[in-house]
């Protein structure tokens, strides 16, 4: 193992350059971030991920943000284990009615100021599950959303573009 670790230390980092902030996201975010919040939080935001009924495709790509290639933490963004430590709720899925209350409670447990990022096509309007008896039909239907990141699922790059827009706007 030591050999392996030393090699890893000496090798060039695998992390790729950051994509630019997403223009649509910047426009959408223009409405919702105020100067006081920027001053208090700077560029460092803690994200709590909430799966509200996704097929787990979005989770796979959100996971990828933590790998060495995308390395989300270099932007001051990191995933945390509790909503009480979070500034951002990242919500996936069409919000199943079985998860509705859990999402509302998680949102309530997140201290202000907070932002909600809805990730994936079904988080926008239910996606392929629209019209089902078992879903609320998008995150907007349950908690207010500040930023939508589209895709089924959005690629890690698309997620980064949206999240970079979030830190750029809040910085």
């Amino acid at each position: 193992m030591p050999k392996f670790l030393i090699e890893s230390l000496l090798r060039r980092a695998r992390t790729e350059p950051a994509p630019p902030a997403d223009e649509t996201a910047l426009t959408e975010l223009g409405r919702c971030l105020d100067a006081a919040a920027h001053r208090r939080l700077g560029r460092s935001l803690a994200i709590r991920e909430v799966d509200a009924g996704s097929c787990n495709g979005c989770e796979l790509e959100i996971h990828a943000l933590n790998n060495a290639i995308y390395d989300l933490e270099r932007f001051g963004l990191k995933f945390v284990a509790s909503p009480r430590h979070a500034d951002v709720l990242m919500v996936t899925g069409p919000v199943t009615l079985n998860m509705r209350e859990a999402l509302i409670r998680t949102h309530a447990a997140t201290p202000d100021p907070k932002w909600v990022v809805a990730v994936g096509d079904c988080a926008i309007d239910g996606g392929v599950f629209a019209g089902s008896y078992a879903i609320a039909g998008g995150v907007d239907a349950v908690v207010p959303v500040d930023l939508h990141i589209r895709g089924c699922p959005p690629s890690p790059t698309a997620l980064l573009e949206g999240l970079i827009a979030l830190v750029d706007k809040s910085a």
Binding site: M1, S8, G53, S54, C55, E59, L97, Y133, C152
Partner: protein, 502 residues
């Protein structure tokens, strides 16, 4: 005579289902099948309902033959299979709440997926209005002075799907774990009713995002069987190529994540990079990182223009992965966490018909690519690794060995890929035509049943993810382990919540 043949002899009617028959039986033979399941003559592979009848798919493991039994329920009841054969319990609870048919004698009458939130009861049956304020759920008791309960979920600490785990512990030792699932129930089977085949295929591809290729193949097989067509040969090979890429990507992710749950993060970092490499190859080759909607009824939607990115990916994984395997195998502190942890009794794996790394890590040899088998696996050369230990380590090793087998298959597919068309038109099929399929996802065998309406739409469908028969086994495997080992055990199973909840 085998039980399957004996039941077939006693059929009241044989229904037009392809490629395996569906027979209507009387209550006596339904009960006989339940005892056959209990005796281990056949394996329960699915149990589902529709208004007025209940179906049960039996698998004969030695031959890979499947038989679907149907029992008409004019009184709205059917004799419980779960009373004799525990793996049917959650399925019968689901039939009761989704369709409204009552399993008589079922020892568990609690709801399962229905949390009283939908505002309606029996969504796959009469769909009557019902209260939607949520009902309390009585967990099974575990009593005694030193016991304490630990509720976990549905919102978990990591980036994972929602589910609730109720631990009862004595100090650090887990005395009882009870799962409560259903949080991500999206009503998939109801959405399927009346959906155009193309739309239904998109939904089937989102039963469980990590197994999108496998579920799409299963759904396509079932529709093609019902419509009486076969996909072009090149399409079958491309499907297998995508399925094996999906398996490699998921196994790499899991090996890294299991080690990370034992606080060995260097494996997560390394496996994460390899996984990214695999997903990028998939993106370049088929235009989508997870290859969603690339497998469609009738063939595939994307041809492989250039095999080079895939071949390069195989070489890249081969260059690094063996060193990671050595690292796993020679790090005593890591082995200390995985070896003997979360041992699954091989008898339970057999009884529940657990597939994939869960079953094959505990001595159950079944792999649906071999039996019943489907093209092109009949001409591909591959081993099906099996371990007997049933612990976390065994499940990691099955994944490690399967990555090697999948890479071999990917090379064979690239070398032998037939030329020709990749898609044929799917005819509407006869009204009431039915098809079933069993396909091997990275987690194990998945089962699909569809009925066409004759106008290019799905009349009814049932999809059963591999997780359905794996989830209950976690409750058994965690017993007498410490609470802190649960994440490790849970990750080593890596059951799908979405695939289970539908």
């Amino acid at each position: 005579m085998s039980l399957r043949a004996a039941l077939f002899d006693q059929a009241l009617r044989v229904e037009p289902q392809k490629p395996w028959p569906r027979i209507v039986v009387d209550e006596e033979n339904w009960a006989r099948a339940a005892f056959g399941l209990h005796a281990g003559d056949v394996t329960l592979t699915a149990l589902w309902g529709e208004p007025g009848r209940v179906h049960m798919a039996l698998l004969e493991e030695a031959t890979g033959e499947i038989l679907v039994l149907t029992l008409d329920c004019p009184n709205g009841t059917f004799p419980s299979v779960g009373a004799t054969h525990a793996p049917a319990l959650r399925l019968e609870r689901t039939v009761r709440e989704m369709v409204g048919l009552v399993p008589e004698g079922c020892p568990d009458d609690r709801p399962w997926l229905d949390h009283s939130r939908w505002g309606l009861a029996h969504p796959l049956g009469d769909a009557t209005p019902a209260p939607a304020e949520g009902a309390p759920y009585p967990f099974l008791p575990a009593e005694g002075p030193p016991m304490h309960q630990i509720p976990v979920g549905p919102v978990h600490a990591g980036i994972i799907e929602p589910g609730h785990f109720r631990f009862t512990a004595n100090g650090e030792t887990v005395v009882r774990l009870e799962e409560r699932l259903g949080w991500v129930h999206k009503g998939i089977e109801r959405l399927m009713i009346g959906a155009e085949i193309e739309r239904a295929a998109r939904i089937a591809g989102r039963v469980s995002g990590d197994s999108t290729v496998a579920h799409s193949i299963g759904f396509a097989h079932a529709v093609e069987a019902a419509a009486g067509i076969e996909p072009p040969r090149r399409a079958a090979w491309l499907r297998a190529l995508m399925a094996e890429i999906e398996r490699v990507a998921n196994h790499l992710g899991d090996v890294g994540a299991v080690c990370n749950d034992a606080a060995f993060s260097v494996m997560l970092s390394q496996c994460g990079q390899l996984r990214e490499r695999v997903l990028r190859a998939a993106d370049t080759a088929f235009g989508h990182r997870l290859m969603m909607d690339r497998v469609v009824p009738g063939g595939v939607a994307a041809d492989l223009a250039d095999p080079w990115p895939v071949a390069e990916m195989v070489a890249a994984v081969r260059a690094v992965f063996p060193r990671l395997v050595t690292l796993y195998d020679t790090t005593a502190s890591l082995q200390n966490r995985t070896v003997t942890t979360g041992r699954l009794d091989p008898a339970l794996a057999k009884r529940w018909g657990a597939g994939g790394h869960v079953g094959r890590g505990a001595g159950r040899r079944f792999d649906s690519r071999r039996l019943p088998g489907y093209p092109p696996y009949d001409v591909l050369r591959f081993d099906v690794p099996v371990r007997e230990e049933g612990d976390v380590d065994a499940r990691v090793w099955i994944r490690i060995l399967e990555i090697g087998e999948s890479l071999k298959m990917i090379e064979q597919i690239l070398a032998g890929l037939p030329t020709g068309p990749i898609r044929v038109e799917v005819p509407a099929g006869a009204a009431g035509a039915e098809g079933v399929a069993m396909v091997e996802a990275f987690r194990g065998d998945t089962f699909v049943w569809v009925r066409l309406d004759g106008a290019g739409r799905i009349a009814r469908a049932h999809l059963r993810d591999a997780s359905v028969f794996q989830w209950p086994l976690i409750e058994a495997a965690i017993a007498y382990n410490i609470v802190a080992d649960f994440p490790l055990l849970n990750k080593s199973f890596n059951c799908s919540y979405s695939g289970h909840d539908l």
